[in-house]
Amino acid sequence: MSSEKSVKVQDKESPGKSGFRFDTFWDRWGILGVLTLLIIYMSLFAPFFLSFGNAFNVAQSISVNAVLAAGMTVVILTAGIDLSVGSMIAVSGVGCVIFLNLGVPPVLAVLGGILLTTLAGLINGLIISYLMLPAFIVTLGALTYLRGIAYSLTDGKPVPIDGESPLQFIGSGAIFGVPTTVLMMATIYLLLWFVLERTRYGRHIYAVGGNKEAARLAGIKVKRVLTSVYVISGLTAGIAGIMFASRVRSGQVTGGEGYELDAIAAVILGGTSLFGGRGRIFGTLVGAVIIGVLSNGLILMGVPFYTQLIVKGAVIVLAVALDYFKGRPRS
């Protein structure tokens, strides 16, 4: 056929860099802008805020939430939600400490604690994807029964770690001056970034979140993908639980209460859509840092706890609104 009069806008050279796109650049920029403003504000008004020591403080204080939020991001990318992660913190922490006190080697005790919540995640995932029940309800139930299991395991009492244990290295140790929990957090984010952006499985997660039926007809095993994201969430929640337990040097049955909401807030702040299919893992990290910087700065400024809550909530709504109006391409 003769000359096709196609008005080709196709630019052959520019879209080279992996995943670089103007709109996602905006997406990231918007929320980073909020963080930058926040840091500038806190540096000016919160005493001792701007220092290396305090930066590590913030990093360490957000690590549990950030790790929870990392797994939560993967779940939310599939348009799901996992409300049970807060209770999983208690299950994994209590489980690990009980194993330790039974004389199980520390490494195995840690793995055992994580295994418990990973299994819980698997159960969540199987129910959600194969029985096709809403994730909100299934994980809401899990939130309650997992907390119940944690209580039952210890008769409702916290279990302190008997004597010295290498477990404490996780909570209070450091490698080359960087706190262990911060290193763990960084590792988890890098790993999940790699999985989401550089593996087929990661692309499938985005696809399932974007359009389940289209994904199925493109040959993706949707149920398997859906199940797996809750396993990932259980895994990261288990790791967060270990971090939590080693920091407080005990298994706390009430540990992590309400943490699921902070994790969700970090994910949403980070620009991931609750409707699935859109978002990125490092956005979540920025979201978690914003929450951390805010709490830390407000404490340093001596703002009373009650007021802190009000400010924190308002900033979350404000930041999301800003990001929504500035960066998001109209869908």
């Binding site: 096709e4 196709q10 080279g16 087929r200 007809l217 493109a218 869908s331």
Partner: protein
């Protein structure tokens, strides 16, 4: 009585519009007379929707003037357009399915009693009046969601008419309608025309336009190409106007080597409504699967592809039996299915071109479990070039592409799996003519390369134009088989409707149904 002497309901002259420096409309003149159906045609991106948005008060034109009944007007908002008597029926209907017809009709304008409460009785009687004006006797208390799309559309039209609209814009109104619903809609359109309304009809479907329109205006690249009375022009001229070149060979047929192999289906069925059906699509052959809406065409495709669970019978690819339980196993067997519902079952709207094209084939671009984006990008770029997909970059969101380009993205997706068998369900529905030609060209290339292609379509000229062989389904069973070069529209329709003698030229009797 001469039509030319009538005052136009609407007259546009010199309308121009630019968006951030890009001119999308230039010097458009356009008018609608009372009692006229005026079709607006053009490829995607020709400026039709911008023009309609100007009429609907969504955009303000940069230049030109707009006259309603001879009076100069300017629409600053959609409500100005409504007050001026212009209503749009959008492609995607604007209804609340959970509410009754009456409530939908009253929406935003609910009658109240003196106490300020909702006047239920008046809602109902007004609804009856409004429905009567579009010659409909639907029960106003029925819930909107229980109606077919076609009926919902009628209610929308009733709402527009009740607002004393004198001009009604219909944007691809038949896109989601069955054949019988479409003809009911045409009936209604003709009645509104004889009531003296002016109707602007936007459609890609030449046949409909020919059936309805008094005049046809063609836009291309934001400019007016022609406005002519239907009786003074021909479909050929209109198509040429739309694409700006002669499109002699929309349907190409290279020398095809049809050899044994390809797809072979025997006794396929879902045990209920569909089948058992048996047929072959040989390697290098294009087979058209024709039938009325609801005859089971798409269902057969979904069964072959493993998209639906229950199935009887067997499928072979290139002579060897394949066990297909789900889409992954079909893809592994070399079968691809371009599904008919582009947005619902095909695209990942909030992902980019790369993700959409490579979705089923990511597996072939990894090393040690790691995706090699360099290779993915060059493969996607190659296939985009082959299909002439117009996007600003391969990481543009597909939601920002035109319908034709979105469809080509999905075709590209299936080319990437290098299929032995490609099933295409309504491959050109809602697609502009340029993309259509490109898709036909690709089908032709695929066949020449030895792929077995099964085309499902309700567009009879498409089936006739593209197929080497045509099989017809009726009520879930095959009802005829035709040579694509000699078959006629009448023969296909007879076979599809079963109204006349069941025998076709090749004499295929309807296969016996095992159970009802």
């Amino acid at each position: 009585m001469a039509q030319n002497l009538q005052v136009p309901l609407l007259k546009l002259s010199g309308i121009g519009k630019s968006f951030s420096g890009t001119r999308v409309l230039h010097q458009i003149a356009f008018e609608v007379l009372p009692g006229e159906v005026h079709a607006v045609m053009g490829e995607n991106g020709a400026g039709k929707s911008t023009l309609m948005k100007i009429l609907a008060g969504i955009h303000l034109p940069d230049t030109g003037s707009m006259k309603l009944n001879g009076q100069e007007v300017k629409f600053f908002s959609p409500s100005d357009a409504l007050k001026g008597g212009i209503s749009i029926i959008h492609q995607e209907l604007n209804v609340v399915p959970e509410m009754s017809i009456a409530d939908n009709l009253a929406l935003g304008n609910e009658p109240r009693t003196r106490l300020g409460l909702l006047d239920r009785r008046k809602v109902e009687t007004e609804a009856r009046e409004k429905l009567a004006r579009v010659h409909s006797n639907l029960d106003p208390l029925q819930s909107m969601g229980s109606l077919s799309i076609g009926m919902q559309q009628v209610v929308e039209i009733a709402r527009a008419v009740a607002q004393d609209s004198r001009i009604l814009i219909l944007d691809e109104p038949t896109a989601a309608l069955s054949t019988s619903e479409s003809s009911q809609l045409f009936e209604l359109i003709r009645k509104m025309r004889s009531d003296g309304m002016g109707l602007i009809y936007i459609s890609h479907r030449m046949q409909e336009v020919w059936e309805l329109a008094d005049r046809i205006t063609v836009l291309r690249d934001g400019c007016l190409v022609s406005t002519s009375h239907r009786v003074d022009t021909s479909q050929h001229i209109v198509v040429n106007d739309m694409i700006g070149r002669d499109i002699e060979s929309l349907f190409l047929r290279d020398e095809r080597k049809i050899v044994p192999g390809g797809l072979s289906v025997s006794g396929l069925g879902d045990g209920k409504r569909i089948g058992p059906v048996s047929f072959e699509v040989r390697s290098g052959e294009v087979v058209g699967l024709f039938g009325l809406v609801g005859a089971g065409r798409s269902e057969i495709a979904r069964l072959i592809f493993g998209a639906d669970q229950v199935r009887l019978g067997s499928v072979s690819v290139d002579g060897s039996r394949v066990i297909i339980t789900d889409p992954p196993s079909a893809i592994a067997a070399g079968i691809g299915l371009l599904s008919e519902d582009r947005k619902g079952q095909g695209l990942l709207l909030n992902r980019d071109v790369i993700d959409n094209v490579a979705l089923p084939s990511f597996g072939s671009f990894q090393r040690f479990g790691v995706l090699q984006f360099g290779r993915i990008r060059s493969a996607v770029r190659a296939v985009s070039d082959r299909l002439k997909i117009k996007s600003s970059s391969d990481s543009q969101l597909v939601s920002e592409l035109s319908g034709g380009n979105q469809q080509k993205v999905l075709v590209a997706r299936w080319l990437e799996i290098k299929p032995r068998v490609l099933i295409m369900d309504e491959p050109t529905r809602g697609v502009d003519i340029g993309s259509k030609a490109q898709i036909y060209r690709t089908v032709n290339e695929l066949a020449s390369e030895g792929t077995a292609v099964l085309i499902i379509s309700s567009d009879i000229s498409e089936v006739l134009g593209i197929s080497d062989r045509i099989i017809v389904v009726r009520d879930g069973l095959l009802s005829g088989e035709f040579n694509g070069l000699v078959a006629t529209e009448e023969a296909l329709m007879l076979s599809a409707t079963g109204i006349e003698k069941p025998n076709s030229e090749s004499g295929a009797e309807p296969q016996k149904r095992s159970r009802t």
